[in-house]
Amino acid sequence: MKSPLVAFVRKEFIHIFRDKRTMMILLLMPVVLIILFGYAITTEIKCVPIAILDQSRDEVTQKMISHFVASEYFELYKMIDNVEEGRALFRQGKVRMVLIVERGKVKGESEIQLLVDATDPNEATQLSAYATQIAVEQLSPFTFHLSTGKGIVPVISLLYNPQLRGAYNFVPGVMGLILILICAMMTSVGIVKEKEIGTMEVLLVSPLKPVYIILAKATPYLLLSLVNIATILALSYFLLDVPINGSLLLLVGVSVLYALVALCLGLLISTIADTQQAAMLISAVVLMLPVILLSGMVFPIENMPEILQVISNIVPAKWYIIAVKDIMIKGLGLGSVLQEIGILSLMVVVLIGLSVKRFKIRL
């Protein structure tokens, strides 16, 4: 049965290569996504406009303000003379933070107040954290104390991603998204297309076993997704300076396992959908939305309501993204991702079981 399989795989490749438009989309999509997330859709704080009200105007506060202005996080929009002016700037949306240095009760002592636009809570938290950090750094040699008054100065070290680069988070996310898109969506559409044009019946009547049909359908997309993984890794390594700290082999291995989960999902969808449009729609709603919303790629899972946290456990992308972060960013070895590998393998087994059952019912 080797040669019939070869004949069939060859045909699948012809389908893909001859459909130039789809192939362009498949090859360019990772590039576009990486560039979009890397440069356009960024959650990093950069050049946020601020206003400063300095009532103290002594040497120490001047120095601190110059550091604020020099930092890449903030950009001085205006020095203001009173609080009311700051509030007006907030209302107009000109600034997102106002730094107020008040003259202290005792001579030579100052108090700092931060006003932050908290319409975006995540950004507000980050802004105040950065601002506090700068203030602490600049003022600690002097008799600066936080509200505790006990002279405790927290020393914060950010592990694995000291510069808080967003790319460290979204590169694994984009990998999770692309693989699902290509493997699941394209496989399901590919199989359903054969049902739609009527060739599936002819194939089922032929001596080609259904298993071989599925294998042949999946092979090209599995290879294509490997090309995509290579593209994403190369782009993120050379363009976005995301390191690959762990074993590349392990990373590729986990990616192939995840691609298998995606293929099985695509297979399952193809047994449910009867038209290509239906397959696309199901893939988009059932696969892409959870990957974007529930995998921890965009929104932290810890912040979700408990029920969503439970649901997120069945989203394969969640486990894949955890594993990729562990290997790529933290540089951990096989031992630390065994749980994720186990869960993904289990998903493969369950999905194959389900699709084979459904595939048979349809016959």
Binding site: S3, F8, H15, R18, G198, P207
Partner: protein
Amino acid sequence: MIMNVIETDKLTKCFGSFTAVDHISFAVGEGEIFGFLGANGAGKTTAMRMLCGLSTPTSGTGKVAGFDIYKETEQIKRHIGYMSQKFSLYGDLKVWENIRLYGGIYGLSEKQLKAKTDELLRVLDLENERNTLVDALPLGWKQKLAFSVAIIHEPRIVFLDEPTGGVDPVTRRQFWELIYQAAERGITVFVTTHYMDEAEYCNRVSIMVDGKIEALDSPSALKSSFKAGNMNEVFHALARRAKRTEN
């Protein structure tokens, strides 16, 4: 005595409480052109799927090419060809690529494939279209090509499911020339159709009504027993008895 290549006895298929095929018994001899007629929903397709090994019967027995339709479906699949009512070639593949694909699926060697491809293109007068995408061919040519591809592995039986839908009478006539040629080579042809003029071309026809075979004989014998001028009248006389409506 001609050998039977298809034999069924009280073959039945139920979907829940619905009996799609109801105790049909018939035999088809080697090299025969057997017309399988019936209105939509009469159970033709279901019966054909059981014979092709795509669907397991609920009860009854059947043999196709000498193999049991319950246990030996793999063997059956090797010895039959199939052409569906939907068009069964790939439009984005070239003519020769389609031939190579189906030849490859049926396990032909490279050498056999090359010889078969050349022969087939010559017989169909498609030698100049070897590198044409199938989508670019006229419908009639596509159908002739699809039929030739369906018998590329010289099967014992070829199943044709409404093969000439949407084709003009002249092309249909040409298509039937191919069917006769195949039958002369000893390939049994099992064909379902809506066109009653095609029924006249068959050696024998069966007419299914509501899951049962109501008539089975040569076209001329059927016409005389129903006192009808043509097969169309025979068909309508029987179809009128149907209680089932489509779907």
